[in-house]
Structure formats: structure tokens, C-alpha cells
């Protein structure tokens, strides 16, 4: 469904992505792992058109390089950014409603489903989103993107700065999305969730993919973990 070939990206003159290749099939859960600063976030930003990419990016067979991000989004590619850009002055409900791309064509995720799924959000449906806790914000942004009915959702560091219990909940949410048949590209630093729900994992280092395999293969490969992931 998503095909990335030889993706390069620059910040000014610095060559951040140096030829990334990755694939996500329909309905597949794939994790993109690696330490900070290796270019994981830049990869998803480049796919969304927020960072000017060079190379080939195909989504559902369509070349999306150079498209404005709203057009990419409308093709069915959802993106939950790293910093959980909620709209702080809007209420939770309004945030969720903004995820809907076209009010005339309701998608498979409805507002009520979301609220039912997350009693926390339901309880705060009409308060300003700015006061939510980090975990709730993560739920909110992810749900908001789901409201747009994506076929593939890219989630950047959903567990960043979250307490272990909340991390667990976020993991559950992602698993549920996967069950619903939405493909997921998960950018993570923590191994636990990624290994639990992914079908395949990529590990990035220095602007390239340095490892590709199943979670089991990764668990087995201590050297790779030691070199690219651990402290």
C-alpha cells in the first residue's frame, strides 16, 4: 500500500535521510524503530510532504511526492505527529470532528464510537483539549486522525513521556486500530509495544534502514539491539 524507495531529505544542507526504503502492506502493522535523531520522524514527515522529499513515495500506487499534505491526507493516509498537535482551545469533541475530512461521506469511525471506546475522552468531551493529560492527548490525536477514515495511519512516538500504565493503554488502542484493518506505521523508541503488535519492524540508524525483520528476529538479534537501540 505504501512504498518508499530511496528516500532522501535535507534540513538546509544537512542530509537527514540518506536513501530510506520501506513498505507497508494493506492492514499491516509495521514499526519503525531507532534512537533519537536517526531520522524516523523525518521519514514520516517526508512521506506527509512536510519535509521536501526526494525519491519515490507511492501510496495506493499513486506517486505522492510533491503533493500538498492535505491532498495526501485525502488519499487516505493518516498521520499522528510526535508532538500530538491537539488544538488546545477547541473542545475534545471539536477536535475529533475536525478529523472528518468530508462531512457528507461518513467513515467507519464515528464520534460516538470514539467516545464509547474512551470513557476518559467522553467524560471530557466538552472541555478544552488543552487541559488533557499527555495520555489523553495521545488518545485524542490518534482518534482524531481515525475520524478521517485512513487506510494507513502513521503514528509518531505515541508513548513519549507517558507513564507505563498509559503506555499500556496506548498500546491497546493501536492494537484495536490494527484489528479494524487499518494499516499502521508506528514510529517508536520503546520496544515493548512495537514488539507486541508489529508484524514487521524496521530499525533506522543514520538516515538509513539498518535492520528489517519480524519482532522475533529482532528479539533474537542481540547485536542489533545493542548497537542501534539500547542505552
Amino acid at each position: 500500500m505504501l512504498e518508499v524507495r530511496d528516500l532522501h531529505a535535507y534540513y538546509g544542507k544537512s542530509h537527514i535521510l540518506q536513501g530510506v526504503d520501506l513498505d507497508v502492506a494493506a492492514g499491516e502493522v509495521v514499526s519503525l524503530l531507532g534512537r533519537n535523531g536517526v531520522g524516523r520522524s523525518t521519514t514520516v514527515k517526508a512521506i506527509m510532504g512536510e519535509v521536501a522529499p526526494q525519491g519515490t513515495i507511492r501510496f495506493k500506487g499513486k506517486d505522492i511526492v510533491g503533493l500538498p499534505s492535505y491532498k495526501i491526507a485525502r488519499l487516505g493516509l493518516g498521520y499522528v505527529p510526535e508532538h500530538r498537535d491537539i488544538f488546545p482551545s477547541l473542545t475534545v469533541r471539536q477536535n475529533l470532528l475536525l478529523g472528518v475530512k468530508d462531512t457528507r461521506r461518513p467513515g467507519k469511525w464515528r464520534l460516538q464510537d470514539m467516545l464509547d471506546m474512551f470513557p476518559n475522552l467522553a467524560a471530557r468531551a466538552d472541555t478544552a483539549a488543552g487541559v488533557l493529560s499527555g495520555g489523553e492527548k495521545q488518545m485524542l490525536t490518534t482518534c482524531r486522525t481515525l475520524m478521517g477514515d485512513p487506510d494507513l495511519i502513521m503514528i509518531d512516538e505515541p508513548t513519549e513521556g507517558l507513564a507505563p500504565l498509559i503506555v499500556q493503554q496506548v498500546g491497546d488502542l493501536i492494537a484495536r486500530i490494527a484489528q479494524a484493518g487499518v494499516a499502521i506505521l508506528l514510529v517508536e523508541q520503546k520496544l515493548s509495544i512495537a514488539l507486541r503488535i508489529s508484524k514487521r519492524v524496521y530499525i533506522m540508524g543514520h538516515g538509513r534502514v539498518v535492520f528489517e525483520g519480524t519482532p522475533d528476529e529482532l528479539k533474537a538479534n542481540a547485536a542489533v539491539r545493542q548497537e542501534w537501540l539500547e542505552v
Binding site: 506527509m48 512536510e50 499534505s69 492535505y70 498537535d85 488544538f87 488546545p88 471539536q94 475530512k101
Partner: protein, 315 residues
């Protein structure tokens, strides 16, 4: 005394609402795009002249609808072909672009309609005194202006807070990229915002034109006070602009009503001292300085509270 207070209050509110009518569009544009549109008063002037011309051709009421639309279209063109390209050079460049635009528009207007005031009249339907207090008439047209201002205020609040478009606009204010990632065309949203802001200025022009003088220098005369209103109220805050309009309207009206000066409060200075700055300051009445009081308020509030009355950010 009571009479003067009642009438001054009424006048102040009416004038304040006129200010709000004029500044609402400016606030909308600033709050959404961070652009201080120096050409706003020029769009107001365009509205007045379009209103005048269309009234001549098709009557006031159709003009009331059509002229703002025209001005809005011009505003959208300015955003699309001017501001959008300038955006990368920063807010100062954007501001200067509108500064130049104000110059050009004034000249274009005077080229087409001349430099004398045009005969733009209150529509016959509203040309009667609505009510009388203390034997002072209040013309229906002023009440019409008041009503339009309030309707615009409420409508803008509803649009911004309640409608989907308003939500997108508000969201785009803080997180334009995110809004794009959700599949909304942010560029078009900004263009529309600028269009609406300009159209509001145009509407103000159509309505205020007959009440004030419609002339090619009307923009220059009103421009600065609009900045006072929106900066005083807090940049980008619609309720702030509303309150600031009222405050400035009332302050100015009551200042006129007061004849007090330092001399009347503390007695005249020793005349043997001769003329000096002190005697000038001593003898000037509050009424004399009424129209510059807003600027004083502006400077004071910016020094004390740089974000303005209701603002949340500085720039």
C-alpha cells in the same frame, strides 16, 4: 447633567459599535493569520465607494450584499497573489505589503471617483428618527448600524466557535500543518479568512459611508484608530475588540462632554509667568484632547500589558 450622561452613553455606544464594525475584519485577519493589515481601512473605503456606486445603479439593499462580496474578492486576490508569496519573508514584509497597498488603493479610488466627497445617502427606508430622548433624535440608520455591528459580532462568534469552518480556522491558527495533515486545505482557509475580513471591512464601508463622509481620504483618517482598537483590545481577540470599541467610544464621547481642565480644577496659573508649556497643559480642556485620548490609552496599555486587554499573545 443626567441628560448629558444618558445621551453621551448612547452616543458612545453607537460610536463604539461603529468602531467595532470597522475593526472586526481586521481582528479576524490578525487573529487567524497574524497579519496586521494596514490596508484594512482601504478596504473599508473601497466598500464605501462600491456601495455608493452600486446604490446608484441597483439600490442600497442589493449594494449592501454585493459591495462587500466584491471587496472580499479583492481581498482574496491580495492574499493569493500578494501575501502568500510574501509570507516567507516574515510578518514585517507582509505588513509593509499592505502598507504599500493602502497607498495604491487610495490613489486608485481618487482616480475613479475624484477627490471630493461623493453624495452617498442614507437609504430612504431608514431615513427617519427612530426615537427621541431628552429631545435628541436618534436616527433609524444609526440603530441599523448598531444592529449590524451586534449581529456581526454574534455571527462571527458563532461562526468561529460553532461551525466547522470556524473550527478549522481556529485550529489552523495554532497548528496549520496539523490541519493540513487532517486533509483540510489550509491555503484556501487563509484565503477565505482574508476574504471574509476584507468583506467585513467592505460591509462597514457600505454602512458607514452614508453616515460619515465618503471621500478618498477616509481611509487615512480612520486607519490609525482601528489599530488602536484592536491592539487595545488584545491582538486577535474578537471580544477584546468588541470591548475596546465600546471603551474607546465611551471614553471619547465622555471626554468631549467634559469641559474640565487643570485650570478649572486647580485654578488658573499665575498669569505673570507668561505663556509656557505648563500654561498650555494647564489650560487645555479634556474635550479638546478627546480624539487623542485613544492613543494615550494605547501607549499605556502596551506598556503595562503588552498583550492588550483580552489578548493572549504579544505578536
Amino acid at each position: 447633567m443626567l441628560e448629558l450622561i444618558v445621551i453621551s452613553t448612547l452616543n458612545g455606544v453607537l460610536f463604539g459599535m461603529l468602531l467595532f464594525l470597522l475593526s472586526s475584519g481586521l481582528t479576524v485577519i490578525f487573529s487567524m493569520m497574524g497579519v496586521l493589515n494596514f490596508a484594512h481601512a482601504s478596504f473599508y473605503m473601497l466598500g464605501a465607494f462600491f456601495g455608493f456606486q452600486l446604490t446608484k445603479w441597483i439600490g442600497f439593499w442589493p449594494a449592501l450584499v454585493l459591495a462587500p462580496l466584491l471587496v472580499g474578492a479583492i481581498g482574496m486576490a491580495v492574499e493569493r497573489y500578494g501575501l502568500r508569496n510574501t509570507h516567507k519573508h516574515g510578518h514585517v514584509a507582509e505588513l509593509l505589503l499592505t502598507f504599500g497597498l493602502a497607498f495604491a488603493i487610495e490613489e486608485i479610488v481618487s482616480m475613479i471617483w475624484g477627490k471630493s466627497p461623493v453624495d452617498y445617502r442614507v437609504p430612504a427606508l431608514l431615513d427617519f428618527p427612530a426615537f427621541t430622548i431628552f429631545s435628541t433624535n436618534y436616527p433609524a440608520y444609526k440603530l441599523f448600524m448598531l444592529a449590524v455591528s451586534i449581529v456581526i459580532f454574534i455571527a462571527l462568534l458563532i461562526v468561529l466557535k460553532r461551525t466547522r469552518v470556524g473550527l478549522i480556522v481556529q485550529a489552523a491558527l495554532t497548528h496549520p500543518h496539523m490541519v493540513g495533515h487532517l486533509g483540510h486545505n489550509v491555503g484556501r482557509v487563509f484565503m477565505a479568512v482574508f476574504g471574509v475580513g476584507s468583506a467585513l471591512a467592505g460591509l462597514a464601508g457600505v454602512i458607514a459611508g452614508p453616515a460619515l463622509v465618503t471621500q478618498s481620504d477616509m481611509a487615512a483618517a480612520l486607519g490609525p484608530i482601528l489599530f488602536v482598537v484592536i491592539v487595545f483590545g488584545g491582538l486577535g481577540s474578537l471580544p477584546g475588540a468588541f470591548i475596546a470599541s465600546l471603551v474607546i467610544g465611551l471614553v471619547q464621547t465622555f471626554a468631549v462632554a467634559l469641559d474640565g481642565s487643570l485650570a478649572s480644577a486647580f485654578g488658573p496659573l499665575d498669569p505673570s509667568a507668561g505663556p509656557s508649556v505648563l500654561t498650555d497643559i494647564w489650560n487645555v480642556t479634556i474635550a479638546q484632547v478627546a480624539p487623542i485620548v485613544p492613543y494615550l490609552l494605547l501607549v499605556i496599555i502596551l506598556i503595562v500589558r503588552p498583550m492588550g486587554l483580552m489578548g493572549t499573545r504579544e505578536s
